[in-house]
Symmetry: C2
Subunit: 197 residues, 2 copies
């Protein structure tokens, strides 16, 4: 088997239409509305799953954003939050987003077990969530085994958590995706297990 030397996550072609370089959104609601727009566009363009995420600096400047690209990129790890973190690192040229100051990760659904772990390593100092785990689970996505006290775990590590920001709108994107027959891709097909968010 040939082993590639590079693995790339490539944003969809429509990206530049909706993500201007100078985007600024100052409130959690405005930032979430932007992330939900990304999730909706990702579904409409059939480029991935119904999830969006964005990293904003404290002054509201967009550092980077992502959408779910699991299937398109052939990477189970390419959840929206992970794509946003990968792009943020490339944008600032440093693995630690805290090197540019305080920042927020805005995620249209509460992060799964993997993305939750990544929040802790990323250097962001706050997490803003739209839909809840249960909204994702309600349409068949799995969030994985998260520590029960994940919100207080983050807060104890100095990462502020805000939940239910535009929750209804975020959850609607999940429902519409499922109702339209969108692929509930499954990272554990061999196991006959549930799909991942």
């Amino acid at each position: 088997m040939t082993h590639p030397l590079t693995a790339s996550i490539v944003l969809p072609e429509w990206w530049e239409d909706v993500v201007p370089d100078d985007l600024i959104a100052r409130t959690s609601e405005a930032q979430m509305a932007f992330a939900i727009d990304l999730a909706e566009r990702n579904v409409a363009e059939q480029t991935g799953g119904p999830f969006g995420a964005a990293v904003f600096a404290e002054d509201g400047q967009l550092i980077a954003a992502g959408v779910n690209l699991v299937v398109a990129s052939s990477m189970a790890i390419a959840h929206a939050e992970m794509v946003a973190f990968a792009m943020a690192g490339c944008a600032i040229g440093h693995h630690d987003i805290a090197s540019v100051g305080r920042s927020s990760l805005v995620a249209t659904t509460e992060p799964c077990a993997m993305c939750l772990g990544a929040v802790g390593w990323s250097g962001v100092t706050s997490l803003v969530c739209g839909g809840r785990d249960e909204d994702a689970r309600a349409v068949g996505f799995d969030e994985g085994p998260k520590p029960t006290e994940w919100v207080s775990d983050l807060e104890n590590a100095g990462i502020r958590v805000e939940t239910d920001v535009l929750r209804d709108r975020a959850a609607e994107v999940l429902v519409r995706y499922a109702e339209a027959g969108g692929l509930i891709y499954n990272g554990r097909a061999a196991l006959g297990d549930s799909p991942n968010a």
Copy 2:
């Protein structure tokens, strides 16, 4: 701020010296020895942290491997396991490693909270660990808030877990890295918090 459209993880230049296309290792010990060799080489070449990981098919064929490239790639998420999963997806052209049958992730240290979540989404059907969480913590790396019952969580999801495979050799790589003054990179510098594995 300019937003890049691609984020790439690039394996180090020494990769092809030590990772032949046709590598086969049939036992957990042989697979772990290979992953430890990668971790050691990563340290010796100063291309990243003291962690290696590899995905092997059931017949012992190497599907893909990775080393910690957090600093080199400017990505907090580029832990060895995540790099191996990203490369595996590229190698097989599918997000679900289970699409090529049963497989194992071999990790020189028990996976951190993020990588543990990724194991569940990756499609691998077993996890083989070298050093323990406590070995990583002993030299200053943080593993993050993992569910207490993470081994049984995986096993309940049909993922077999084998621990302590060549543990002493794996732990030695961590100790030597720390003693040589290797960077214990910190994903949460702004918080004055502990570094990540």
